[in-house]
Symmetry: C2
Subunit: 115 residues, 2 copies
DNA sequence: TTAATTAGAAACGGTTCCGAAACTAAAACT
DNA sequence: AGTTTTAGTTTCGGAACCGTTTCTAATTAA
């Protein structure tokens, strides 16, 4: 039998996920949102290889996720001038606004939970 | 500027999502996990049309998600004998165990947050 | 300066998902 | 009984994603 606090945790996950599904604007995969959150929450600089190691996926997975999210304006890329093999992944205004909305949703849904 | 409680909400979402990405066992999409959680948290009976309406997606999306999760043993389907047009979607032991683990992860990551 | 390493992207083939439309079967209506 | 409606699935063409492998460019090592 699942306990009450388990149910509340899962209810939160459900409610926020449902809001993300309803929000047709971006439709990110779990990997993509994890990458996006890493870029916005972890200390920079962010590189393809660093994200690949963190998520335990191959580099092409990161490259393609950045392609997709770049098209949507959620992240941008810039060559590292100190070592031009590197690509520095950067935040965008659009990405910040999107995550701010996601944060609002999480807080709102958490507030609605029984305590 | 993102506030502290925003950051904590997003950090929780990040940490749990990262755990889900690391967990190679099931690899569900956001839609799939939303459907799975609906089945386990909302009062039955669960039907294709009901889930489609709730998620605001077409019925084939639900059918296919149930196909995928059925193969993984996370849900099962049964004809409604009272109205044989309906399909009743049911929980499984495997699905319960999986969501119990997800609940554990959420609670664990929430505990690790600064307060 | 040439060879080896490193970072990231591109190419390849396969899988999965999508929405729209067509289809099957069961129930309800007339 | 025959038509219409309802529930769910299947099919279709297209898009996105996956892992592996290959490629390009930049840096480091010999």
């Amino acid at each position: 039998m699942i306990e009450l606090r388990h149910m509340q945790a899962l209810r939160l996950w459900h409610d926020v996920s449902l809001s993300l599904v309803h929000d047709k604007s971006h439709d990110l995969t779990v990997r993509q949102i994890t990458i996006l959150l890493s870029i916005y929450l972890d200390p920079p600089p962010h590189t393809v290889r660093g994200l690949a190691a963190k998520l335990e996926v191959t580099k092409p997975v990161i490259t393609r996720a950045l392609d997709s999210m770049g098209i949507k304006g959620l992240v941008s890329r810039r060559r590292d001038e100190r070592d031009r093999r590197n690509v520095i992944i950067q935040k965008t205004l659009e990405g910040s606004l999107y995550l701010e909305r996601v944060g609002d949703i999480i807080i709102e849904k958490a507030r609605g939970l029984p305590r």
